[in-house]
Structure formats: structure tokens, C-alpha cells
Symmetry: C2
Subunit: 299 residues, 2 copies
């Protein structure tokens, strides 16, 4: 059963026990564009105690650089090499795990941040923000000339999703069984500043349905994301903690990686999903109302 | 095991045995805009023998009236009251089974034909072809004022699918548990004139993923479609045959309804799915290469 943290002593114990702190961002540090109370103090506290901080997000609409800007705007200290996004992890997966040859290309159902991370890894891409693919004009297969060098279709959250992009991605995957079907993540919803909206999992769902198979998802809870982090940062999992608001992504991710996990209730998960008769089978090590509560450890 | 039809005698036997002939259209009578060889002769033969003919299609992009025009353009005799489309069946379901009050509205993720059928049944609708909802502009929940009278979200094939429509539909369904989640059909693919494209099932998939629940599907193979036909036409199921190209829609639909079934191989299904070690568990009564083969019964 998950242990509920509430006293200053609980939080001080946590500070002593863990050297590496992995944070999900949306629903943990902020809600949309609104910082969660106490977050700046808690992050400062961790930095003062020389803790290693990593930000691990499934948000693939932003590159690490743009994500760093979000921290700047909210007045939070963060460094690009502390940020691990599913867009970045996808690009690393394509170049280092798939080892896709340099002449091959990725057809992107996603946004600018995803394209930027592919470019950083030297991966050629099509689709994405290309105006020709961002249209509601009728799609005709006969006018579509598939690029024979497309070796993967990569789906992330794409608020410009449309039938042309879906039809092209479907055609690449259907006609070429060797074409990899990847998703940055399959979060069902996306916590916008104003409320929940369909997430990246809803963007790859039409293709999964039409093809009758699921994409390989790179982001949390997949091990691919953990491998990507471990390739850049050495840390002892037994002295590391993953803090998140989603049981099926953040907590599952930490649990699978052998880390301790802390669920916060400032995001998507309700307390009834953690304790009681309807609790999920994914159990965090700890849970607390808000990461801001760790401030009490300061006093 | 399904019986393969091949001789003139086989086809003559079929003519004697069945009075009511239900036909799927795409992949059976035509492929996209191309008529399948022999279809006019076979339909004429059936009419000459005083057989009742019904056209049962999951295509919800067209109303029955527009669908009738497709027959006209291809030079095939058809009457509006012989056509049962999933758009029509959805409208009938909403008005007669759900008995949705007249002041309530349907939010449509679909096209003009679907709106026309709703209008024929006197059902108010939003979304659909409304230019405000056919946009790739960024969607903001704060600018969206949900209509409290929306009592159902209805999804059909929509080649203008976009994030605004998905977000509105998601919001109606998420905030109002009493709002019905309906799909005209959940065919995974759509056989366009130029090849396969994502189908209506791919259009409701993002919502099903984001909501974590499936829509009620009205079209084949659901009994709702059969109920809709039986409400308008009396026939003896033991003397009726459903002709189709899809095992999981057409054949399943006929089998469930207690009809005999004839699979044709001019559409989506390959012979290896009917006979041999990898055959589907959905078994048609008969199968043949093409409905055009019935011409041999004329001689």
C-alpha cells in the first residue's frame, strides 16, 4: 500500500533517502501555465541539498530547448541537460537504437518541438509542420507520391491533426511493413491550462485502428525513456525517486525502473485511485497532496 | 466451413433459395467509382426474378438520397427506400430508440450526408460541416461554450477531422456522463477509389482513447442496423442472404441476424481468411470471387 506523506518528518526522511529526483512537469510543477504553489521553494531546497534534478516529460510538442524556456518564463531554474522529453527520447531511439540510416526519413504526425529534436539528432523528416500536410483540403491517394526513403512514422501530440496527415502516415505504414510505427507517448489526455484535452495517444489511435496494430511508445512508462536517461546520467536507482501525477505513466515508469515513486494529487489522479476499494493495481511508494508540501521539510 | 460457389448450378440454387438479397456496396457492387463487372446484369436478373433487393452500407458520408445518386451515376437501378445507410440508421436510432427529446442536439463528427439524415428525422445538430469547427486554428477551451442541450456525440467518417472537433466532442462526453457516445460504424478502413484510407473507426478512435470507453456503433455488424431495416421491411431471415466483402462487418451482421451470407473477394477480404489454417472464426455460408459470377445463372 502506498504511504501517505503528511508530516515535516516524512518529508525530511525523503530528503535524506533520495539523491536523484525525477519530476514529471504538467500536473506536478505546474498546471498549464500556472505554477503549483511552493514549487520554486521545493526545487531550491533540493538544489541546496545538492540533489540531482531531472525533468522527465512526455510532452512532445516542445523540444528540450523550448521546454527550458517554459521554466524560465515561470521563474524556475532548469538546465537543458536536466530535461528529458519524449520528443528527444524518440529522436535518440531512432538514431541509436533503430540506427536508422542517414538517408532514411521520418514521417512526422506532430509539432515543431518534435521536428527540432529530430534535427538535433541529424534525422531527416517529412510531414509535421509542412504547410502541404496541414490542410483540410480533400486528400487523394492518386496525388500522393510516397517517399521511398521513409523508414518510420512518428506520432506525438499534434493539434493540427487532419485526414491528409493520417492518410499519408497510414499509407507509409500499410504499404511498407518495414516502416516503424512509433509514438512519442500514448497519454490518453493532455492537461492544457484550461482543462483536459485529447492527448498524444488519441493522435496515434486512428492509425492504430486503421492498421490493426499498436505503435511502439517511447515515452513514460516505456523503458526506452529510462534507457535514454541512463545513457546520459549515472544514478543509483535505489536512491532515486520519480515524482508524478499519473499512475499509468509516471508511477509505472518509476516502478518498472526500480526507483521509488511519489504520486502527487495536483494532476490527473484522484485519491480514490490510490487507496480504497477502487485503487489501481499500480501502487506508488508514497503519495502526497502536492509537491509543494515538501516545503514543510525546510522549517 | 464456407461453401465455395463456382458452377452455374450453384448460382441457380442460390436464386431459388433466397427471396431477399441484402448487398453491401463498396467492394461488392463497385470499387470506389468503378463498377464491378457483371453487377448490372446480376441486379437485373434478381429484379426479373422478383427478388427484394436492399443495399446496406456503413458509408455514413452520404445520405440515402446522395447514395441513390451514386447508383444513378453508375447506371444502376436503385430506389431510396432500398438503401439503408449507417447515417440513416443512426438518425433512426437517436429518434426512435434513444427517443432523444426534440430540444436536444447531436454534436456531429462527420460529414454532410450524416447531417442530412439527422435533419430528415428532425434532429438538431452542431459541429459537422459548420465552418467554425472545420479549422486547423489553435483550440482554446476557454473560448468554447458548450451547448447544454447536446445529448449525443455522433461520429462517422469525417475527412475534415481536426483537433477542434475532437476537443469539443471530448468535452461534451467528458463533462456530461449522460451524453451518448455513438458511431455510425467502426470500420477500420475505407475503400476509396484509389485504395484504402482510414475509416470511420479511425475517426472515433481518438475519442475512445481519450475517454477510455468505446462508442456504441450503429452500423454493421450491430443489431441496431438490422432492427432499423426490419422496422421498414418485413422479410423471412431464412430466405434472405447478406452479400458482402468484409467478414467482421457484413458477414458477421448477416450471421447474427440469422440470414445466410455470401462473401465476395472483390473487396477487403482475401481467400486465405476464409479457408485454410489462418481462416477467420467468422464463417460465411458461401463465398465466391465476385457477385458478377452470378451471371452464369442466367444462361
Amino acid at each position: 500500500m502506498a504511504a501517505r506523506l503528511s508530516s515535516a518528518q516524512d518529508y525530511k526522511g525523503l530528503l535524506d533517502k533520495y539523491d536523484t529526483w525525477l519530476f514529471d512537469c504538467d500536473g506536478v510543477l505546474w498546471q498549464g501555465d500556472r505554477l503549483i504553489e511552493g514549487v520554486p521553494e521545493v526545487l531550491s531546497l533540493l538544489r541546496t541539498h545538492k540533489k540531482r534534478i531531472l525533468f522527465v516529460t512526455n510532452n512532445a510538442t516542445k523540444s528540450r530547448k523550448s521546454y527550458k524556456k517554459k521554466f524560465d518564463q515561470l521563474g524556475l531554474e532548469a538546465h537543458v541537460d536536466e530535461v528529458f522529453g519524449s520528443a528527444y527520447a524518440s529522436a535518440v531511439y531512432i538514431s541509436t537504437v533503430m540506427k536508422m540510416p542517414k538517408h532514411k526519413k521520418v514521417y512526422v504526425v506532430g509539432m515543431k518541438g518534435l521536428e527540432e529534436e529530430l534535427e538535433e539528432e541529424g534525422i531527416q523528416h517529412l510531414g509535421g509542420t509542412d504547410p502541404a500536410d496541414n490542410t483540410l483540403a480533400e486528400f487523394h491517394l492518386k496525388n500522393f507520391h510516397p517517399d521511398p526513403d521513409v523508414g518510420a512514422v512518428l506520432c506525438g501530440l499534434d493539434t493540427s491533426i487532419n485526414y491528409t496527415k493520417l492518410s499519408k502516415a497510414f499509407t507509409y505504414l500499410r504499404r511498407n511493413p518495414g516502416c516503424a510505427f512509433l509514438a512519442t507517448n500514448i497519454d490518453s489526455t493532455y492537461p492544457s491550462a484550461e482543462g483536459l484535452l485529447p492527448g498524444a495517444g488519441a493522435i496515434s489511435a486512428p492509425l492504430a485502428t486503421a492498421l490493426g496494430r499498436q505503435p511502439l511508445s517511447i515515452g513514460k512508462p516505456a523503458e526506452t525513456m529510462m534507457d535514454c536517461i541512463k545513457a546520459k546520467c549515472q544514478f543509483d536507482p535505489t536512491r532515486a525517486i520519480m515524482v508524478g501525477d499519473r499512475l499509468n505513466t509516471d508511477i509505472e515508469f518509476g516502478n518498472r525502473g526500480g526507483l521509488s515513486t511519489l504520486l502527487v494529487l495536483t494532476g490527473i489522479t484522484h485519491e480514490s485511485e490510490v487507496v480504497g476499494p477502487n485503487a489501481s493495481t499500480t501502487i506508488p511508494t508514497y503519495f502526497t497532496n502536492s509537491i509543494g508540501d515538501l516545503r514543510t521539510a525546510i522549517s
